[in-house]
């Protein structure tokens, strides 16, 4: 702990003695500017939270469905399996920000009747599609991590293939992938800021507006603090879940 404090003090001293420090302090760490803009940033962040809260459940459902589709083995399901695989390949291959651009500007331009044209809507859908592909792979790894003998035992008791997935395979698969899923959640919280490229005033866009108004970048630091205050507790929670899963696995394998 002492070494940590010492390290921070040394770095702070070094940074504060650089020739450009006074200017940087004025531009990035301006107390007045911070107080003036922070409430507005918090307000704008509410949009990020809403995007996250809408996107996350949809991502989980989409990811799970795609993972199940990719695991269908019967020949009749070939088209579904191919479609699911193509979806994962395509959306894992495109940078998230590009998906947001393409959907956010492309779909409204189609002028479809009966579909929302708001940028936030399509930005959120783009996040769902992009993250859905990753989460599908996480779920698939989880399903594969359940030993085949579990499926065999369930079928031997007379459970159907569906009942076996529902009651035996999926509960274990989901438990195994909670830690990696948490990592994707954390990543998604940050990537809600990408929707800014479409124009909606979420926290990053608000910070940009504030920064260009006074030529002061302190709002960016404020926005960063807001993200950190949410992602750090999530990260600790993910660590804790990971440790617990590892402990349980060890206990299970000893039996």
């Amino acid at each position: 702990m002492a070494s940590l404090v010492g390290f921070v003090v040394v770095i702070s001293l070094l940074v504060s003695r650089t020739p450009g420090w006074p200017a940087v302090q004025e531009t990035f760490f301006n107390g007045e500017e911070f107080v003036a803009t922070f409430p507005g940033l918090l307000e704008a962040f509410w949009l990020n939270v809403r995007i996250f809260l809408v996107a996350e459940p949809l991502i989980l459902v989409l990811g799970l469905l795609v993972a199940l589709a990719r695991n269908l083995r019967a020949p009749v399901f070939l088209p579904i399996r191919v479609l699911a695989t193509a979806y994962v390949d395509v959306f894992r291959g495109i940078p998230t920000i590009l998906v947001i651009f393409l959907l956010g500007f492309g779909v409204p331009a189609l002028r479809l009747q009966g579909v929302p044209n708001e940028a936030v809507f399509w930005g959120t859908m783009a996040l769902v599609l992009s993250y859905g592909a990753y989460v599908a792979e996480v779920f698939r790894a989880g399903i594969d991590s359940v030993h085949p003998s579990q499926r065999m035992a369930a079928r031997s008791l007379g459970l159907s293939a569906f009942q076996t997935d529902r009651h035996v395979v999926l509960p274990q698969a989901v438990r195994n992938v909670v830690p990696p899923l948490m990592n994707d959640f954390i990543s998604l919280q940050k990537d809600t800021a990408l929707v800014a490229v479409l124009g909606p005033i979420e926290v990053l866009r608000q910070a940009q507006i504030d920064a260009s108004f006074n030529f002061n970048y302190t709002p960016y630091v404020g926005a960063a603090l807001i993200f950190i205050s949410l992602t750090i507790p999530m990260t600790r929670l993910a660590d804790w879940l990971q440790a617990r899963t590892a402990r349980r696995r060890r206990a299970g394998s000893m039996a």
Binding site: S149, Q150, M152, A153, A154, R155, S156, L157, G158, L159, S160, Q163, H167, V168, P171, Q172, R175, R248, A251, G252, M254, A255
Partner: protein, 256 residues
């Protein structure tokens, strides 16, 4: 190819395995195997590893498909028929594996209740009562709410037996259920099987426990290279095997 016919005729056979062939990646494990089992009979399968014991049991339960031949239950359910309702078959035929395969995310009693509730549609409370009674009968009353990782090997295997019994099968298959156990825990599991045998359950069991086979079996079948090479009452087979391979196997088993 069998050296002798079983004691039961086909008409009274509960289970009829006829000329069954099964290969994995070109390696023939079962080579035209025949076996008949009558109701209330306890048949023990012995033989070296790879002689086809486990494969045979899995075929009987429909967990493996056969390449040729037929397996019939009660003369009415053709396991090997491609259109056979295997889920229906498996309600009547229970199997317990060497590696227990309990569901680790459920308590012991939930393991036992799952199939009766989901497959037979037994109401939760009734399933719970029946499961609790079965667990008590096999000395697991105090383990009902534990998770499988808290159980010893012997307790796990007894719980797996109870889970299979909860479906009230007509025929129970045991696949080397003591092979993964600490020697000290083998007897508690074998006692459970002895108990079931006394209750008249029809049993087909693959085992390496020769003394147990001798005590409990009505009939012992020696599997060799995918066929039943020799079968008969345990005393006769163990004391006076007629085939040289049987004698060799028994001699090796005694030394082990």
């Amino acid at each position: 190819m069998t050296a002798e016919a079983g004691p039961s005729s086909a008409s009274t056979a509960m289970l009829e395995v006829a000329r069954v062939w099964k290969s994995f990646d070109g390696l023939s494990v079962l080579r035209g195997l025949d076996l008949q089992v009558s109701r209330h009979e306890a048949v023990v399968l012995i033989g070296a590893s790879g002689s086809g014991k486990s494969t045979l049991l899995r075929c009987i339960n429909g967990l493996e498909s056969v390449d040729a031949g037929s397996i019939t239950l009660d003369g009415d359910l053709e396991v090997t028929d491609l259109d056979a309702d295997l889920d229906r078959l498996r309600r009547r035929v229970g199997i317990v594996f060497q590696s227990y395969n309990l569901f680790p995310h459920m308590s012991v009693i939930d393991n036992v209740m799952l199939a009766p509730r989901k497959v037979l549609g037994v109401p939760r409370e009734q399933a719970r009562r029946q499961a609790a009674a079965l667990l008590a009968r096999f000395g697991l009353a105090d383990k009902a709410d534990e998770f499988p990782d808290r159980l010893s090997g012997g307790q796990s295997q007894r719980a797996a037996i109870v889970r299979a019994l909860a479906m009230e099968p007509e025929l129970m298959l045991f696949d080397e259920i003591t092979s993964a156990l600490d020697p000290l825990l083998v007897s508690e599991v074998l006692d459970a099987v002895r108990d079931l045998r006394a209750g008249g359950l029809t049993i087909v069991m693959a085992t390496h426990e020769m003394q147990f086979a001798r005590d409990v079996a009505d009939r012992v079948c020696f599997l060799h290279e995918g066929v039943v090479l020799e079968q008969g009452p345990p005393e006769a087979l163990f004391t006076a095997p007629r085939q040289q391979q049987t004698a060799d196997f028994l001699a090796r088993a005694r030394r082990a």
